[in-house]
Structure formats: C-alpha cells, structure tokens
C-alpha cells in the first residue's frame, strides 16, 4: 500500500516561507522534513511525519513550477497560473535572488562562465552552501549580468526594474555585475579579511563616481546619459586624467609642500603622528601610483589588492586607528587644494573621494 499521487492546490497558492527557504537552501524533501520536525512544527495541528512529508512535497512542487517564472520576475505579476498576492510575490522574488555572502565572496570578480560553474562543487564544499543553492545563486548572477549587459541606463535602476528587487538587493547585484565585468581580484590571501559587503560598498562608490554614467558630471551632455554599459565600465577619460596626479609625487616641491601642510594640520591630534610623518611620502606615492596605473586593465583588476598592500597594510603595521586613518586621509585630500601649483583639483577629488571611502570601509581587521 502506497500513496501513488498526492496533491493539494489552493486557489490562492499556499506557500510556507520556512519551506521556501529550505527549498532555496537546496535541502532535499527528506532533509527538509527532518529540519521541520526538529523545528517543532509538528506540535502545531497535531501533524504526523506523513502529513509533513506530503506538505513539503506539495510545496516543493509548487516552487519548482514557480521557478520558471522567477527567472523573469516581471512575469510573476501578470501570469495567470498561480494566484499569488503581491506582497507574497515580492517575498518570493526577494528570497529567490537573495544569496549567501560566503558564496558570493568566492565568485566575486570571477568570470561568470561555464568554467566557474564547474568549480561550484568545490565552492560548495568550502562554504557549506549546498551545491543546488550555489547553482541557483550563480545562475541568478549570470542571469542578471546577461540582462543588464544589453541594457542602457543606470545599472541599479535597471536591475531593480527588471528583477523587481529591493533597492538594497539591486545594489548588491550591481556590485556583483560590476565586479564580474571588471574582473577585480578579490580572492588573494591578503583580501580574505574583506567581506562581500565591504566590496559591495566599494563597488557602489566606484559605480557612482568613476563610471561614465557617474552622477554630477555636468560636462557630460544629457543624451550621453543613456550609453551602454555606462555604469559597468570605468570612465576611460577619467582614468587617463588620473595620470596627471603623478605630479604630486614626481614634483619634489609639491610633495614636500603637501607633506608639511598635512603634518601641520595633524600635529598633536593623534598619537601616531610620528609614524604618519615618516610614512607620508611612501603612502602618498602608493596612492598616486595606483591612480596613475589605472589605465591598465590588469592594474584595474589589482585595484583592491594594491590599496591593501600599498596603503592599508603599512598603516595597520603602524597601529593607526580607524579615526587616525580618517583624519589623515581627510587632511591629505584637503591639503592638496591649497597647493598653488596643483591644477587637477576636480580629478583629485573624484579620485580621492572614492579611495577615501573605500579605505575607510576596508580598514578593519
């Protein structure tokens, strides 16, 4: 005697959020039943294991049928097959596109290709995220990447419109797309301490300041606002202009002047002032060399590793506090404005604005 067929269909599609999460996390039906039993759901309504199994199977089937729609979330709202109230639709989409930070950290900056997909089982083993879930997340990244690749206009907005995601999630996806597109190196040992959210923040900074579509660029005419990949590629012109900043380290006078201005401002305000004074030149050279090299795609990829090696690590070994760092960078940036012979104020601000906030974000243990 066995149950041959067992279905339950509601006019309003019944979805249990807990089971949905288990499904998303890649649990098998039997494992999900186990988890639910441990969760104590059986005590409600005097359910038995069979009841739980039947319910879980039903829900899994429903989710599988919905999955196709979730691949293009806009369809979910005007499909007729499932009657799902709007706030549930939002939940379904949001959870489907949610990802594990540990997983995304592994693929961040990697090419979203078949090759990477083959490595997913290794990543699964490393992160403890089930392979099924890894695949879903990876496919989500790839899907979003493919769609926005062909679209004009602002990246975050495009993602939000096409995938009906929350602002936060759309920004995260923008970061993933941005990293994947520019292939930033994030996997090096020295970068391991950084979380996805650190990178996402930096990506946000880069997108909104260094790309073609970056806001506040009055020099760019309005029609230019709709070019392809405007948020995905860095502004080439700007990268070119960054070379001009080299004067700050090549011109001896300027370098000394800059140093004295910064030191005057900092004196007495921090315990690590002596260290700051001694390492000023090194640090300044580091930052400006990074800027000057950004025209090279290879060096763009190493942007974060360079920031860590050339700036963050020296500071850390000198035991700067985060406040010290803030103080230093603020004065370092502002002092350049007072330099009479330094003409590249706009580029300087655009560069240092981003670098400053990136370093703030990245300066932790």
């Amino acid at each position: 005697m066995s149950v041959e067929l067992d279905v339950f269909v509601g006019n309003t599609t019944i979805m249990d959020e807990e089971v949905y999460q288990l499904w998303l996390d890649g649990y098998t039906v039997n494992d999900a039943v186990k988890v639910r039993m441990e969760g104590g759901v059986m005590d409600e309504c005097e359910a038995s294991k069979d009841v739980l199994l039947s319910d879980t199977m039903d829900q899994y089937r429903t989710f599988q049928m919905c999955e196709r729609l979730l691949h293009s979330p806009a369809k979910l709202a005007n499909q007729l097959l499932f009657q799902i109230p709007p706030h549930r639709q939002i939940m379904l989409i949001e959870r489907y596109y949610a990802f594990d930070d540990t997983f995304v950290r592994e693929v961040l900056g990697k090419k979203l290709s078949k090759g990477t997909k083959k490595d997913l089982d290794d990543i699964s083993a490393k992160t403890g995220v089930t392979l099924k879930s890894c695949r879903r997340q990876f496919d989500n990244f790839k899907r979003v990447f493919k769609v926005v690749e062909e679209l004009k206009g602002p990246l975050v907005e495009n993602i939000r419109q096409h995938f009906l995601l929350s602002d936060k999630l759309a920004r995260d996806y923008a970061a993933i797309v941005f990293f994947a597109n520019n292939r930033f190196e994030t996997g090096k040992r020295k970068l391991q301490y950084l979380s996805f959210q650190d990178f996402a923040f930096c990506a946000g900074q880069l997108i909104s300041n260094w790309t073609v579509g970056a806001v506040g660029e009055s020099s760019i005419d309005p029609s230019y606002n709709m070019v392809e990949d405007m948020d995905v590629d860095l502004d080439k012109e700007f990268l070119q202009e960054l070379k001009e900043l080299k004067i700050l380290i090549t011109d001896k006078d300027l370098l000394d002047q800059h140093k004295s201005l910064v030191c005057t401002a900092l004196r007495g305000k921090t315990k690590v002032f002596p260290e700051m004074e001694t390492s000023f030149k090194n640090l300044s050279r580091g930052l400006i060399n990074i800027a000057a090299k950004l025209t090279n795609t290879k060096d763009v990829r190493d942007f974060f590793i360079d920031l860590v090696e050339k700036f963050i690590e020296p500071c850390r070994s000198d035991r700067w506090t985060a406040a010290d760092m803030k103080l230093y960078l603020t004065h370092y940036t502002n002092s350049a404005h007072i330099l009479d012979t330094f003409k590249h104020q706009v580029v300087w601000d655009r560069y240092m604005g981003v670098v400053k906030s990136c370093i703030f974000k990245m300066y932790h243990d």
Binding site: V7, D55, L80, L81
Partner: protein
C-alpha cells in the same frame, strides 16, 4: 438570423518558443464559430504578438449561439510544413445572451493545449448583438439564467418556484470511435473537449426551453454531470429547479414571500390520487410485519437506511437497489431484503404496489408529453430556502439501481456519425430502455418513498452515477419534506387532506423537525417525543437530511463533519453476474454506512445530520462507500443518549474489556461535548413543570432521558442471530435509559468500535462541515481559501480483507483531513466548509479520493467579547430566563442560541486563545490581507470593536502582532519604499476568489454573470519529466483554476461562487510514461463588493482584489 457574434483578437503574450532556430514564434490565430473560420495575419518573430485584428463577425442563429463555443486556435506559421498548433481557447458565449449579465467578454485567456497545458495567453474581445426577433424564444432559450447555487441567488427574489427540470443528451464518445485509432491523441482529446462543450450548450438550451414553457426565467441549483460510459457513449445530463426570479434593487431586503407551484393542475392529479392509494398500503402491510419481532426495536428513524438484510429494520427503509437488466428477473426493489427470514411477503407486496402505481402515473404522464413528465416530480435541487418555505422534513429518501451498459447499445448511434448530436429523448422516445427511463424509474421510487413519509416534495435532490466497465450504479437522493401551502398555488400538492397540524403554524426554529407523517401510521417504528421547543408537536429522536441547516433552526453548540467510510470486496465478474453481485452488496453497504453514521453522531452527542451525501463507487473488485454529513445538535430534538456496550454473552469477552471500551466511549462523548460546545437548554424545555414556571430538578439529570413516554431502548444489532434474550440482563447492567446499545459479539464488532474511536477531532481552532453554513459559526472574517486535493492510494496487497480495506480507506480520509488542517494552520481560527469528498476506484488496486472545500476564517474574539460582556450564569435562574427566550421568540432563537452557546463555552475558550493566537502566521495568508500594514489596520479595527478588553486579549493581540513582524519579510519602511518604487509591468491580474459556497464572507454579490461550466482534458507522454503523476496533476489542477479565473475576469467578474469540481478522472500508465486526466468544473461567475464601505476588514479584501497592479502601491 437572430444574432451577430463579433470577436477581435488583440494580442498574445508569453507564447512558447516554436522555432528553435530563432527562439521565436510566428503566431497567427484562427477564430472559429460553427462552420465559419477567420484568420488573423501572421505576427512574425514575436513571443508577445500584437495582432489587433479587425472584428470578425459571425451571423448565426441564437440556437447555435447557445450550443456552440467560440473556438480560438493559436498556431505557429510554418512556410514549409504544416502549421503547428500552439493551443486553444474555448469561450462559452452564453453569458452574453441575457441582458442583465455581462455585455462583453474581454481579457487574457490562457492558451491551452491538451498535451502541453497552458502555453501563453491571448487577449480577446467578444460581443454579441441579439436582434429583436419575436420568434426568438421558439427554438432557443436565450435569456434563461442558470445558477449552480442551490439557494435563491443573493440579489434575486423568487416570485415563483416552478419545480423540477431535467434533460439528458447522449452521443458517442470520440475516444471510442474508429477514427481514434488513426488520429493523434491531441486530436482525439480536442474532439472530446469540443463535443462536450457542444453537448453542454445543447443541454442547457433544452432545459431553458422547458423552463420557458413552464413560465419561468431561471434555473437554480443547476447540476450538470457527465457519464463517460466508454463504448456505449457519453451522456451529459442535468437537473435543476425552474424559478421565476426578480432582480432586487440593491438595498431592498430579500422578500421571503415566495410562491411555488411545482405541480400544476394536470400533474397534481397524478400526484394526488396515487399517493393516497400508495401511502396506506405501505403502512398497513409493512408495519405489522416489521413490528413482528417482540424486541422493542427502534432503528434509525426518519432517515432512510438501506433495506437491511436484517429484517427488523426493513420497514424503515425507503431505499432500494435493483439490478435491472434485460434478462434479470430480480425484483426492482428490495433486492437485498430477500434474505430476511419470514419477510418475503413484505417486499413483494411493496413491489407490486409500486409497479401498479408507476404504471398509473406513467399513463397520466405520457398523455401530456415531456413537460408534464418533468412536472410530475415535485423535486427541488435547492438545499436552502427562504424562511417559512420549508414546513416539515421527513427524512432522507434515496434510491439506487444497478444497470448494465452494454445491454442498451443503441443502433441509432452509427459509428461513422461523428459529431452529430443525438438526443435520446427524440430518437428513442419509445424505446423502453433509455437512460431517461432509468432515471424516470428512480425518480418514481424517490417520489413514492417521500410519499410514504407523508411528504409531498423532495428537497435537496441530487443524482449521480458510478461506472465501472459496463456496470453503472445510478443513485438519487433527497430529503422528503412538506413545503408551506401558503406559498403554493391552488393547493396542488397533496396536503389538503393531511391534517390540522399544519393549520397551526409551528415556530420556525423547530417547525421543520416536526414529523410530517401520521403518528399512528408511522412508516417505520420511530421514537417520537414532543418537540423540546414548543411541546406541541411530535419530533423524531434523530433527523437525517440532505439539505442545509435552515438558518432559523435552533441549535446548540457547533456542528462537525461526520463521515462513514466503507469498503467491500467483491469478486471480479462480467456482465449480469457482476451487476447482481453489486446489487446484492448495496443494501449491506448502505446499512453499514448508516450504522456508522448513527454511531458517530451519538458519539458526538448530536441528534441531526444535514447535507448527507452518500456515495457508492464501484470498481472491478471492490465497492467503496462514503457518507458525509454535518452533525448538529438541534435543541428541538431530544438529547441523544450515550452508547452502551454490551457483550453478546457474559463469557464471551471479559467484563473489564467491555468496561474499558465503555469508558473510552463515554470519555469521547464527554470530550466531544466540550469540543463542540454542546450545552443544550434541555431541562427547561422538557420538564412540564419548569415550563410552567416552577423550578424543579434543574441540574440533577445528566445526559439522561427527557422522554416523557415509555422508556425505549434503541439497539443496533450486530447479527441475525440476535434475540431478545439478553434484554433483561442489559437492563440490569446498564441503568441508563435511552442509550444506544452496541453489541460486541465478535471481533469484527470490536474492530468497528475501535474504528469509531479512531476519528480524531480536528485540532484546536479548526471546525469542519460539508454544508453551506457552519452551525454555530456566523462571524466570518475575510479569509477565504478554496482548495482541491487529490490522493490516490495503491493497494499492494492483493489478499486484503474487508476489515483491512476499511482501515486503509478510513486512514486515507482521516489523513487527508489532517493534511488540510496542517496546511491551513495559519488561518486559525478557521472552519473548513463544504468539504466535498468524492471517491473512485480508477483501477483495480487504486483508490482515489478527491476533495474540494473552502477554509474560512472567523472572528474568535467577537464571540469572546460577548462572553466578557455578559458573565456566565450556569444553572442559575438568570440563565433559565435567557434560555427560555428562544421558546417565546422563536424567530430569533437561532442567533440567540448561538450566543448562549458561546456564552457558556466562553470561559473555556478564552483560556486557550492566547497561546493559539501567538502562533498564528497571518503573513502567509494573503487572501486575508494584502499587506501587513493593512493587517495592522485590521487588527486595530478589531481592537476598536472590542468594548471590553481583558488583559488576556490584549496580550494575545500583542502576540499576533509580533508574530506578524517576524513573518513579514520586510521592515515597514522598507516595504513602503519597495512598493512605491516597483512597478509590476503595468498589467494587473484581477484577483478572482473561488468558493464552493453560495456566498463570500463580508462581501455582497451584486451581479451574477452566468454559469461557468468547463471541461478539460490533459494528457502527457512524458510523465516522469513533468514530475510524475503528482506533478502532472498538480499543474493540471492549477491550470484549471487559472482558466476558470481568466474566464471570470474576462466576464468582468471577481469571484466564483458555488464552485464545484464535478469530475476528476485520472488514468495513468507509468510504464509507458503516460497519463491522462479529465476535469469538469462549474460555478457561478459573479461581481461582488465588500459589504461595508468603512475602512475595515472588507477594504482589505477589496485591495486584495485589485492588487497586483499600481493600485497596490497606493494603499
């Protein structure tokens, strides 16, 4: 040329990729009506084509308009090979044919393919221009409204109820035509879908014609069914109640002043005289023989049980089964009763009488043709009536007959005439063995049963079949009743002479319980007492009916679903042997089912069953019986006694064993009383002295016997060999009077008793019923969740016993219920209403159970409020006064009774509400509220309403609010920003609510748009790839729902009421990786609005309806 049909194809969306190379589709559309076809242009390389076609115009007879569906086929253009079909849409244009209903059909329809399911959607606009033709109603019946609802529809008033209408149409099943061997399964399925659509249209038109001839304008309680008879054809049949309905202007109260004339003058003759002839013989001849045994036996009054093989209860049977085949010489009725010793004379005489009577009536009928034939039966498919309409209820009447299908193969159905519809009424009018005649026979039987119960009408009438190979069981059942003569026209029913009782109007709260039959000439030995409400008339001790609980009825506590389940193995056999075997089994099954129902009713301490539906399903090697009903405690009826267990002989089983079972039973009864809050105001009504105002012995007596008459004992016998010897002994050992005695004489009986106790009560917060109204609950909130569930069990063990099978079947049903409770736990407190179980034996070792029901939330706190406001005074004088209220103001009694019940039970209830509320997951039920913000508002509203806030309640509110926060996926501010920033592509899908009930809580129906009657076939040759049988059926049912919703939305509606899934035939062949399923659904499409304009729960429901689009952001 009385009508012009116009159709416009606007656009398509989400089309499937038909061209692998380009990943696109070159779609065009064929629009077909009758024999005319139009085509749109090809819209190249698009999955979202915009055709925006011209108006395709069809000039057609209105007859065709009624019969034919508009057929829309979407195809993929292919230059080199044949065009590939993407899918089809059938649009029933009937709703456009009457003026009040929809004026245009416009919307997105799912494109359906029998192999692939839904493949995208198409936007279509359809209009009809009807010319004013004087002859319009001659051949067609445009304008007659159809309602599936089995009560007078909400926005109408019945000015006249004309009576029973029926019709059936027969055709060859395309699947069994020779051509089926060479055509594709798709073509075959489509032929079937189209044919059934045509047949339903024709059937509806013909019924409409009958209604017009009777002078009516509507059919209420329209029940259409398919019989897939296989080789011998396909029958579409329908019954309904013809009415003249007046549309109520909004706001005016529904008028209860309803007239009826089910039988007009000529029919009344046929009805009147034989009833006099027929009634007396039954009583005179049968009664003595039945009361023959000296035992003070009393069995199952007023309800019909099968003719049990055990003679004592024979006379109470108003049911019979027969196997009428050409060669069969077995008597028409009372097949099963032959076995009873010394009783042969009874059934034979009955048979003779019935045959003569039938002959008499047929003579009368044949002279005036078909129409009269229809009127001959004072049957009503309605299950609930306007107040005052229903006077007395006699009990359930039912009839079954077993037929052999291959015997009636009609030569008129040539196998090459594919789509020509043949009407058995016209073609084979003088052929005796038509299906019409079969049904006629059964209806006659029902009628005579009703008459034997002293009733002139049958209400809550329905018909059904079960087919296995060439054997077909036809069943009909209803409730014998007396309807108010004041609402009749010129005394057409045979009540004129009945007696004086009817002149004295009975109070509505108990009147329907009063016996309609003559006390001295009772059709069966029943135990009568004076009504516990008015004390003026006699009532039976138990009442079984197929109707809904009348709204004015006085009940105590809440109702509950009661099911009797039974399996009987039978030998595999062919033809006549098989039919005989089945008809031999039927009475035993009915008796068993009946015993189970009665026991379970007693176990729940209730005394009446409503909505009784007994289904017997036939398979190759077994018969399945399932009886479902809603049990309730009617305060007008005596309190049920307990159940007494007695051993056959003292030595048989140890006394401890018996007493332990007895204890369990008593405990269960006590628990159930608590659970269903049955605290009847029994003593006040009973005791004459109390009635006179003197307080005596208020609290002494327990469940005991309020019966003023000699003490009776009801007994259920387990076997033939039962004799009256043990009586005295029993009397000594069990002091309780009026107890129901269960005899334990063998292990089977022990098993039965155990299985009685297996039925688990629903978990806290849940109630269940199979009727329209849940007795004891009326304060519904807006949460509605309709669902369909199908479960198929494979019996692996071939050597099963009846007992083993029973257990398996019972567990199957119980587990289904448990699953529902679990799945719907987030709706607590809630009630599963209209639980409709259908059983089938699709293959030798398979049992299929299909359930459709609706879960509705109710406001538990409201009941609590009342408790808080009025403190409970149990057993005090004050309580007595309150309880006497219903006696004086009978009209209000039902509501006040509910209050009383809740008052008394309130204390116990409130203690367990807070932990319950804490675990409620409101967020997961969107039907209730579309966003959690609104929920908060709703919650706040509830708080406002509560005038008395106990700390406990506030606490529970806080709990539920916090649980909301937990389950809401987004923070408040976040969700706000989300909704404002997100667009859902501009298009919104109308939310369509569905319910098997005739109403939606808190929502008023303002317009009925027409009947939805759809038939779909789905087939797959890649079962595994579609997720196995469950995956296949799951998506098919979801697709059917989607198509129903789309059609309703296109008519401009936002809900389906009286929804039912009539058929769900599932066949599989896993070895071939194939499966097929047929589904037939029906219901009434309506437009409804929330009852209150205030910002309350109703407004939430409203937003839910408009949801999906930009409107959502605005809230």
């Amino acid at each position: 040329m009385p009508g012009k049909l116009k159709a416009k194809i606007v656009a398509g969306r989400h089309l499937p990729v038909m061209d692998r190379a380009s990943d696109l589709t070159d779609a065009f559309v064929e629009v077909k009506f009758g024999n005319t076809t139009f085509k749109t242009d090809v819209c190249p390389k698009s999955l979202n084509p915009q055709w925006n076609s011209e108006w395709f115009k069809f000039e057609v007879d209105d007859e065709d308009l009624q019969d034919e569906p508009l057929q829309i086929t979407v195809l993929d253009h292919d230059t080199y090979s044949a065009n590939d079909a993407i899918g089809k849409v059938y649009i029933d244009i009937d709703p456009l044919l009457y003026s009040e209903a929809a004026s245009v059909i416009s919307g997105w329809f799912p494109i359906y393919d029998t192999i692939h399911g839904i493949r995208g959607e198409i936007n279509v606009i359809v209009k009809v221009e009807l010319f004013n033709d004087l002859n319009r109603f001659r051949q067609s019946s445009c304008g007659v409204k159809f309602f599936c609802t089995t009560c007078i529809p909400q926005c109408y008033r019945a000015t006249l109820v004309h009576g029973f209408v029926e019709e059936l149409v027969v055709n060859e099943d395309p699947e069994y035509q020779w051509i089926d061997r060479i055509r594709t399964p798709r073509a075959s399925n489509e032929a079937r879908q189209r044919l059934i659509s045509l047949m339903s249209g024709e059937l509806q038109r013909k019924i409409g014609l009958k209604v017009l001839e009777m002078g009516g304008n509507a059919v209420v309680g329209y029940l259409q069914c398919f019989d897939l008879e296989g080789e011998s054809g396909l029958v579409v049949r329908a019954i309904g109640t013809a009415c003249t309905l007046d549309k109520l202007s909004s706001g005016s109260a529904p008028n209860t002043n309803t007239h009826m004339h089910p039988n007009t003058a000529p029919a009344s003759n046929a009805c009147n005289s034989p009833s006099k002839d027929g009634k007396e013989p039954v009583f005179v001849e049968d009664l003595p023989s039945s009361s023959g045994p000296p035992t003070p036996f009393r069995a199952l009054p007023t309800s019909s049980s099968s003719p049990p093989p055990f003679s004592p209860s024979k006379p109470c049977s108003r049911q019979s089964s027969s196997s009428d085949t050409d060669l069969s010489l077995t008597p028409k009725t009372g097949m099963g009763s032959g076995g009873s010793a010394g009783k042969e004379a009874g059934p034979l005489r009955t048979l003779l009488r019935q045959q003569t009577q039938t002959a008499l009536e047929q003579r009368g009928a044949s002279s005036s043709g078909l129409l009269l034939n229809a009127r001959e039966f004072p049957f009503f498919t309605l299950t609930s009536f306007p107040p005052g309409f229903l006077l007395h209820v006699g009990g359930v009447v039912s009839a079954r007959s077993v037929k052999l299908l291959d015997r009636i193969h009609n030569p008129a159905l040539g196998n090459t005439r594919s789509y020509k519809l043949l009407d058995w009424n016209s073609v084979t009018a003088d052929e005796p063995e038509t299906r019409d005649a079969w049904w006629e026979e059964i209806r006659q039987e029902i009628k005579s049963h009703a008459r034997a119960l002293g009733c002139h009408a049958v209400v809550g009438y329905s018909e059904s079949t079960s087919i296995c190979e060439e054997v077909c069981i036809l069943s009909a059942s209803g409730t014998a009743a007396i309807l108010n003569p004041r609402y009749m026209r010129e005394g057409c029913l045979d009540i004129g002479c009945t007696d004086h009782r009817f002149e004295d109007p009975s109070p509505p709260s108990c009147g329907f319980c009063h016996i309609p039959y003559d006390e001295l000439n009772m059709p069966f030995p029943a135990q009568l007492t004076y009504c516990y409400h008015c004390r003026r008339q006699k009532v039976p001790d138990v009442l079984f009916t197929t109707i809904d609980l009348p709204s004015e009825a006085a009940v105590a506590g809440k109702g509950c679903l009661i099911q009797a389940r039974l399996c009987r193995l039978k030998k595999k056999a062919q033809g006549e042997t098989n039919a005989t075997a089945i008809s031999n089994l039927l009475p035993f099954m009915e008796y068993e089912l009946h015993t189970q129902l009665m026991n379970k009713l007693k176990l729940r301490s209730m005394n009446a069953l409503f909505g009784l539906h007994i289904q017997i399903s036939v398979g190759e090697n077994m018969l399945l019986g399932l009886a479902s009903a809603t049990g309730v405690y009617l305060t007008a009826l005596p309190a049920p006694g307990g159940i007494q267990i007695a051993g056959k002989t003292p030595g048989d089983l140890s006394n401890e064993h018996i007493s332990s079972i007895q204890k369990r039973i008593n405990d269960t009864i006590a628990v159930n009383k608590e659970l269903y809050q049955i605290n009847p105001p029994k003593l006040f009504a009973l005791d004459p002295e109390v009635f006179c105002g003197i307080n005596m012995e208020l609290a002494e007596e327990g469940v005991g016997s309020p019966i003023p008459e000699p003490r009776h004992r009801s007994r259920l016998f387990r076997s033939h060999s039962e004799s009256s010897d043990e009586l005295s002994e029993l009397d000594l050992s069990h002091g309780k009077k009026d107890a129901f005695v269960l005899e334990i004489d063998d292990t089977d009986a022990v098993e039965d008793i155990h299985s009685l106790l297996i039925d688990a009560p629903p978990p806290t917060g849940f109630y269940s019923c199979n009727t329209e109204n849940m007795p004891g609950i009326s304060n519904w909130t807006s949460g509605v969740q309709m669902f369909t569930s199908v479960r198929v069990l494979r019996l692996s063990n071939a050597n099963l016993t009846n007992q083993g099978l029973n257990k398996i079947f019972t567990d199957l049903c119980e587990n289904l219920l448990k699953s529902f409770y679990f799945k719907l736990r987030s709706m607590i407190p809630c009630c599963l209403c209209h639980l409709n179980f259908t059983v089938a034996v699709p293959e030798e070792e398979l049992i299929q159970v299909t359930v459709t029901a609706v879960a509705m939330t109710y406001d538990k706190e409201q009941t609590q409020e009342k408790t808080a406001e009025k403190p409970v005074n149990k057993g005090s004088l004050e309580a007595e006064e309150q309880l006497q209220f219903p006696l004086e103001l009978c009209a209000d009694s039902s509501s006040s009774n509910i209050q009383t019940a809740s008052k008394i039970s309130g204390v116990a209830e409130s203690t367990n509400i807070s932990p319950r509320a804490a675990s409620v997951d409101y967020g997961s039920f969107a039907d209730r509220c579309s966003t959690w913000l609104e929920l908060l508002r709703l919650k706040a509203h509830t708080i406002r309403r509560g005038s008395v806030k106990t700390s406990r309640r506030t606490q529970s509110l806080a709990h539920s609010v916090s649980s909301l926060e937990r389950c809401s996926p987004l923070q408040e501010g976040r969700s706000r920003s989300l909704r404002s920033s997100r667009s859902f592509g501009g298009s919104s899908v109308t939310v369509v609510k569905m319910t098997p009930l005739s109403f939606l809580p808190g929502i008023r129906i303002i317009k009925y748009l027409g009947i939805i009657n759809m038939f779909f076939i789905r087939e797959t040759t890649s079962l595994r790839e579609e997720g196995g049988v469950s995956g296949f059926l799951h998506s098919f049912i979801a697709e059917v729902f989607a198509m129903v919703r789309a059609h309703v939305a296109a008519l401009g509606g936002n809900a389906v009421v009286s929804y039912s899934m009539k058929e769900c035939v599932f066949m599989e062949n896993p070895n071939k990786n194939q499966a097929q399923c047929l589904i037939n659904v029906s219901g009434d499409a309506v437009i409804c609005i929330s009852e209150t304009d205030q910002e309350s729960s109703a407004s939430t429901a409203n937003t839910g309806q408009t949801g999906g689009g930009g409107t959502d952001g605005a809230t």
